[in-house]
Subunit: 142 residues, 2 copies
DNA sequence: ATACACATTATAATAATTCTAAACTATTGA
DNA sequence: TCAATAGTTTAGAATTATTATAATGTGTAT
């Protein structure tokens, strides 16, 4: 149980009770090599596949938003028809593949720092993020 | 009727019949000095204020999406809880004011061209857009 | 063990958007 | 001109994503 212990501590740190649903969500979300992007429906599927029990959709929504509020998840607006979340909560840039509807992180080394010359007076900048929309190149295809 | 004639021609060019609802929408959307950003609900309010007749919400949705498909409007995803549209259909960058929920164009001169060093293979870039989220600076305020 | 606060759940409610099908209108060409 | 036709508007129903409710269940501290 070493992994789950970490999640239990993590949840406690944040003031959330480590229920079995939340620990399972932590496993699905955070027990992996790399960060990833997901929609609520994709997440529900992943959790269902890894649990014998059923998890309520309301719990998934509530817990995702709890994690978001505590800074463990970040919501990314890309497509008005679906909500994307990111387990990488740092400020970073994305490709959005319009064919597959996949979000992909842009490597920090592959893009220069954005240089804003003017800001709106009386406002502070919370984030500067770039979205690069891509689609398959059908140039040589009938 | 010089202004409306333009809109009638514009609609015809695009293959849309110039009904009085569509001409009114054109006036609200395009008969102005500067481009602007709106949500569907804001647009419905604007149209209602300028018409004695009532316009159906379905017509506003359908017509906005028809204009979008024909390239006269652009949808901008900023906030998963509401859809923004832009009468400036060129590729450009935005401030989003998280206090007022207003979208504001960034002047081309105030930001350097984004330089991407690597793209995803087999994909072409459709757009590169920057979103700068700002909020009031309460630093010196209790 | 007990009590309490907090969490989960099924279900209902809400809100945004899209669908439907009947009534209406712009266009065309006889 | 004026019907025929294709396209449009409309009210209201349907759908979808999300949030609220309130009864039941669970984690935690004593
Ligand atoms: Mn949200
Ligand atoms: Mn749309
Ligand atoms: Zn990311
Ligand atoms: Zn704009």
């Amino acid at each position: 149980m070493p992994k789950n212990c970490n999640f239990i501590e993590k949840l406690r740190d944040v003031g959330l009770r480590p229920t079995k649903q939340r620990v399972k969500m932590c496993e699905v979300l955070f027990n992996r090599e790399k960060t990833f992007h997901f929609t609520i429906n994709e997440l529900v599927k992943m959790i269902s596949e890894q649990m014998n029990q059923k998890i309520s959709l309301a719990t998934v929504y509530n817990t995702v938003h709890a994690f978001e509020k505590k800074g463990y998840l970040k919501e990314i607006s890309i497509d008005s028809h679906r909500s994307y979340f990111d387990t990488n909560t740092s400020s970073h840039h994305h490709f959005f593949d319009e064919d597959t509807h996949q979000l992909i992180d842009i490597d920090k080394n592959d893009i220069d720092t954005i240089n804003l010359k003017k800001n709106i007076s009386g406002k502070k900048i919370n984030s500067i993020e770039v979205l690069v929309r891509v689609a398959s190149d059908n140039q040589n295809q009938k």
